[in-house]
């Protein structure tokens, strides 16, 4: 009995001690004032920087990996005094550990971050990445990058606002978009010309339905949002959607075109234009169905179909213009936000590399690897890359209207969950477009209040 008491006393003491130990430390996270670090004097001279080795961590595999490898080789060839050591990591792995890696003395000098508050915002706020304003001036990035793309990497230095202020990351000369893919053979068989407006698209879908085809290959079990966000961009101006996403509380989700988009999606669902039983079809199966010819159209993120060289040209891409007016607004962002670590010892060389990733050479290398180029118009795309040509045309169309809008889930950390849930409820008749819009507004308001 006494033994028991002693043992339990020991354990109790240990517990109390550990609890005290933990509670005695103050609030979690770093203490002290937060101020963004920015280099004071910058130089664009790389050749005379001496022997420099930079560490790069990125999440690019496949053809994206080939692209960055070719970029590193070309940069090292241009500047023999520079060596770039690349580490490739899985996307989830890198985005979830980047804050720790960047605070490590042996961590990367350059890295790919995810945009939005969760990733880039947190890194900038934690003073882990450099403010790039001086480099932007030195290299003239402000005239190179469309403002709707630049905004995706901007934060005010009090870190209360995203989408304006200082530049904390750069895009690269590549972009990924949301738009519509179509099955070329099916469309030819149905005798339909590729639609160029939403009205034409709806007429084409109806015709496909009448002919017994599945108009839109779709699965809403785990990733239903591409169609909603693709449509949203047709209904509101780029500024409105951008401002909504970046937390301007004077803009509501309804003004940002979400209500019309939800109504249209609901209408299409009720008309039976989506794959039957889409509520039980997951994302991968939906993509596979479309590639198998079960469906004429599909709303999709570019680069997600995983087309082989052989499949190039069997599926093509459409970027629809706005429903009213003339311009084209589309969801599009660089595939990563390139950051320079605050502790990087050669920020000038690192910035030169970022500049190189936005160069015409980078855009050309992108097209050569089957990826959509951005920032430069005079890129040649091989005729064999028939799908890429239509995708690049879409990007050029948005670029011409300066109509890029960011991924809607950058609005708040929980926005993607909210949209997924609301869309599934919409299809099951458990919510209305109005309620969906209200839920989105509420999600954002909660986040904005929390982050004050």
């Amino acid at each position: 009995m006494r033994k028991h008491r002693l043992a339990s006393r020991t354990i109790a003491t240990a517990t109390v001690l550990t609890a005290l130990f933990a509670a005695a430390g103050c609030a979690p996270g770093p203490s002290g004032t937060e101020s963004a670090s920015a280099p004071t004097s910058v130089s664009t001279d790389v050749a005379n920087a001496g022997q420099v080795t930079l560490k790069l961590s990125d999440f690019w595999g496949g053809s994206e990996g080939e692209w960055i490898k070719s970029m590193i080789t070309a940069f090292e060839k241009q500047y023999p005094n520079v060596t770039i050591e690349r580490t490739q990591e899985d996307w989830g792995q890198l985005t979830s550990t980047l804050n720790l890696q960047l605070s490590d003395a042996d961590g990367p000098d350059l890295a790919t971050a995810n945009n939005g508050w969760q990733s880039l915002g947190t890194l900038a706020k934690g003073n882990l990445v450099l403010n790039l304003d001086e480099y932007s001036k030195a290299y003239g990035w402000d005239s190179l990058i469309p403002s709707t793309i630049a905004r995706q990497n901007e934060f005010t230095t009090d870190f209360k606002t995203i989408g304006s202020g200082s530049l904390f990351a750069t895009p690269v000369a590549r972009v990924s978009l949301i738009g519509i893919y179509y099955n070329v053979d099916k469309l030819t068989q149905l005798g339909i010309a590729p639609p160029t407006t939403l009205a034409e698209f709806e007429a084409a879908a109806q015709k496909a339905k009448d002919a017994g085809e599945i108009p839109i290959a779709y699965g809403s079990q785990d990733s239903p949002t591409a169609v909603l966000l693709g449509l949203q961009a047709l209904y509101a101006s780029a500024d409105t959607i951008n401002n909504f996403t970046y937390g301007d509380s004077s803009v509501t989700a309804a003004q940002a075109g979400l209500n019309e988009a939800a109504q249209t999606v609901k209408k299409w669902n009720d008309a039976g234009w989506f794959t039957p039983h889409h509520e039980g079809i997951n994302y991968q199966d939906a993509v596979a169905n479309f590639l198998d010819g079960k469906g004429v159209f599909r709303f999709e993120y570019t680069g997600s179909l995983g087309l082989t060289d052989k499949q190039q040209g069997t599926f093509k891409y459409i970027q629809l213009p706005q429903v009213t007016g003339t311009g084209t607004v589309g969801v599009g962002a660089a595939p990563a936000a390139m950051v320079i670590a605050s502790k990087c010892k050669h920020p000038d060389v690192a910035a030169a590399f970022l500049n190189f990733l936005m160069s015409k050479d980078a855009a050309q290398a992108s097209a050569d690897n089957g990826l959509i180029p951005l920032l430069h118009d005079d890129v040649t795309i091989a005729d064999s890359m028939a799908t890429l040509k239509t995708e690049a045309a879409g990007a050029a169309q948005i670029s011409a209207s300066n109509g890029f809008v960011p991924y809607f889930d950058w609005t708040s950390p929980t926005m993607l969950d909210t949209l997924n849930q609301q869309m599934q409820m919409l299809y099951a008749g458990k919510t209305t477009p109005d309620e969906l819009v209200a839920a989105v507004d509420k999600d954002r308001t909660t986040f904005l209040e929390q982050s004050k």
Partner: protein, 312 residues
């Protein structure tokens, strides 16, 4: 130098003192040796379990994104857990899962045990193996297999169509009404065999004299079950209840792989909500609060079941 020597001699002196004292009180000495043996694992346990537990407890009072400075919110995270309609619904989902993961397998396990142990059957080991198989499979594999079975073109719908029940076919995991029961039945399938094997081994430890006595007294199979088998299996039932109920409370992999909590939030469990808060959306404080509440619930349930099982 002399200082060092003095120090170096100290342990020896201490040891001899202890030895002398130990001669008077051997129990005390045993206790010390015991503690010395336990010290290393205890430190290890403190570092890997108690410290994180205390940290989680601390985090649960803050609003924290995991990187920048946290702000104190007091009981805010806990209040949110019990007032937020979505988080509240996760608790009712857990109740449904407890029925499917725990009560149903135990009832089925008892029933099959009663049937199997009545008579020696040829190939018993084979049956046991087949029913126990799900327990050996990795839960992710089980989840992926059932995802296929429940899909719109899956085996279940094919079966229904083949017998003319087309009206009943649906996307089982995409249906607001059916997704949770469909998930629950996966759990029933997975834990039923475990309960049965546990109960069969329990029955073998019930003295056969009791059965003989019951039969002499004229008890039928039903009476025999309630009078002898069921009371005899009390400890096994307690073990099965504890494991399956806490398993239901912790349900994560099955939901994450099959529905991710959807459609809507129809299959969201506290563990999935916790994972999202901790790793998908940076709300570490909220995640910690969910974790603490879940840990307490598991503890209370385990204690309660233990109490009931021991009472005679």
């Amino acid at each position: 130098m002399s200082h060092l020597i003095a120090r170096a001699t100290l342990p020896g002196g201490g040891a001899s003192q202890a030895r002398r004292r130990a001669n008077h009180n051997p129990r005390r000495r045993n206790r010390r040796i015991g503690l010395a043996f336990v010290a290393v694992p205890l430190v290890f346990y403190a570092v890997v379990v108690l410290v994180p537990l205390a940290q989680s407890f601390q985090y649960s009072f803050y609003n924290w994104d995991g990187v920048s400075r946290a702000t104190w919110v007091g009981l805010g995270n806990y209040i949110q857990f019990f007032t937020d309609p979505v988080l509240q619904s996760t608790l009712s989902h857990v109740l449904v899962l407890i029925f499917f993961f725990s009560l149903l397998p135990i009832v089925l396990g008892l029933l099959s045990t009663a049937l199997i142990t009545r008579r020696r059957l040829a190939g018993m080991a084979g049956y046991r193996f087949v029913y126990f198989l799900p327990q050996v499979l990795t839960s992710v594999v089980v989840a992926l297999v059932f995802k296929r079975i429940y899909s719109p073109d899956g085996a279940l719908n094919a079966l229904l169509r083949s017998v003319g029940l087309d009206a009943l076919t649906r996307s089982w995991l995409g249906d607001f009404t059916w997704a949770l029961p469909a998930l629950g039945l996966i759990g029933t399938w997975a834990t039923f065999g475990f309960c049965m094997v546990l109960f069969i081994s329990g029955v073998s430890s019930i003295p056969t004299e009791l059965y003989e006595a019951a039969r002499v007294d004229g008890a039928g199979p039903v009476r025999e079950f309630f009078a002898v088998t069921l009371p005899g299996l009390r400890p096994q039932i307690a073990v099965a209840l504890t494991l399956t109920v806490t398993g239901a409370l912790r349900t994560f992999d099955l939901v994450w792989v099959t529905t991710g909590g959807g459609p809507g939030t129809a299959t969201l469990t506290p563990a999935v909500a916790l994972y999202r808060a901790a790793f998908v959306n940076p709300q570490v404080g909220k995640a910690a609060a969910i974790g603490i509440v879940m840990a307490l619930l598991c503890l209370v349930i385990a204690l309660a079941i233990g109490r009931v099982a021991e009472r005679d």
